[in-house]
Amino acid sequence: MKYLDEFRDPIAARAMLEKISVAASREWTIMEVCGGQTHSILKNGLDRLLPRRINILHGPGCPVCVTPIEMIDRAIEIAQRPGVILCSFGDMLRVPGSRRDLLSVKAEGGQVRTVYSPLDALEMARKNRDLEIVFFAIGFETTAPVNAAAVYQAATEHLDNFSILSAQVLVPPAIEVILNSEDCRVNGFLAAGHVCAITGYSDYEELVENYHTPFVITGFEPLDILQGIYMTVVMLEEGRPAVNNQYRRVVRRDGNPEAKRLMGKVFERVDRKWRGLGNIPGSGLGLRAEYAAFDAARKFGLEQYEKEEAGECISGLILQGLKKPFDCPAFSERCTPEHPLGATMVSSEGACAAYYHYSLTEFQRIKKNRNE
């Protein structure tokens, strides 16, 4: 496919790997902050092809994974109410809440539907005016304008049977938490291309200034990622951190003004709890007062609901880049995509799912060596 296959060329990838190897004089740890990139890295075996001195960590870039358990419990609570249809992206249905998941609510007759876009939920609201349609709005800055568009359109059409359960989060505050952690090992970041397609990258320039850590905005194909790593390594070696844009074909410095304008009109920054990272001030997006009627948490009286994370799953440590999936004692044994303990194994963008799908043989080899 045009603008896709060209970025998967194996000879060029080998050349890029060679360039990285020559450029890197010492060990560097680089974190990618997008689940799509995590999967591309594992699927294409980049983690194994890269020189050993380049350590790749996976950050909190999967929206399903970072959604806290209490938000899932709220969605379950809403889905159990009579006269409600709860809509969500597919992966959310299987993520365990504190006692059960949305799929089991559906199995017991609850109205839970998978949608591809919030516009599908909006269409459902138009066609079912006697029912409450709730869209479980997860996602980062890439998805927030889309959710904003759905709310804005619902308001325009006076669809008062539509609302969203907002679990939307912003990337830069989470990166700041990682950089502020005493255990932080990250030397540089690959920033998520599609988040920056919306936001642009002035926030990242601020992070570079404050933390002296390089960022490269990167696409999703193997050559995009390898070039992004090369650009990061060059900056690290030269000791001149900056924001570089590898994904110039899609990302502009100011992002997408139309999307940002609508996002700002409908949402405002709020404090938000993340799985594994805890409460991060100003890291979420909630509905502005003018759109409060479309806030499902308010509509269904669930604003104060809180729940502590518990259990064996180490998703939180994985999302902070402190552990890798292979470090988890439950990986591939008590925790598999069919029977997941937590979000990073459930989500199609989760780091554990990526390792399970693409590196299981590698894990078995490592485990055998450990036992010998």
């Binding site: 190897s21 992206f89 599609h194 397609a197 999703f220 110039r248 997408n256």
Partner: protein, 84 residues
């Protein structure tokens, strides 16, 4: 959720504000996509789509520059005079 597949706009069907939409061809699979966030996009432009919305128009000149860079390092690799 981030499907990083560029699709080509093959028709503009609805030109109404937030519901501006058109058909987009992803290598043979055609989908109706909201184009409200890319008011500058027209037929034959490539767009990046997320959750039913085009979020960016692919800059073909920038893509050509990146591809030329890739071609250069590939030539260096094939001729054996790469940096390594």
């Amino acid at each position: 959720m981030c499907l990083a597949i560029p699709g080509r706009i093959i028709s503009l069907d609805n030109l109404e504000g937030m519901m501006r939409s058109g058909r987009v061809d992803f290598g043979g699979i055609v989908k109706q996509i909201n184009l409200a966030f890319v008011p500058e996009a027209g037929i034959n432009d490539y767009v990046i789509v997320h959750a039913g919305f085009a979020i960016s128009v692919l800059d073909e000149e920038e893509a050509a520059r990146t591809l030329e860079y890739i071609a250069e390092i590939k030539r260096a690799e094939e001729s054996g005079d790469g940096e390594g």
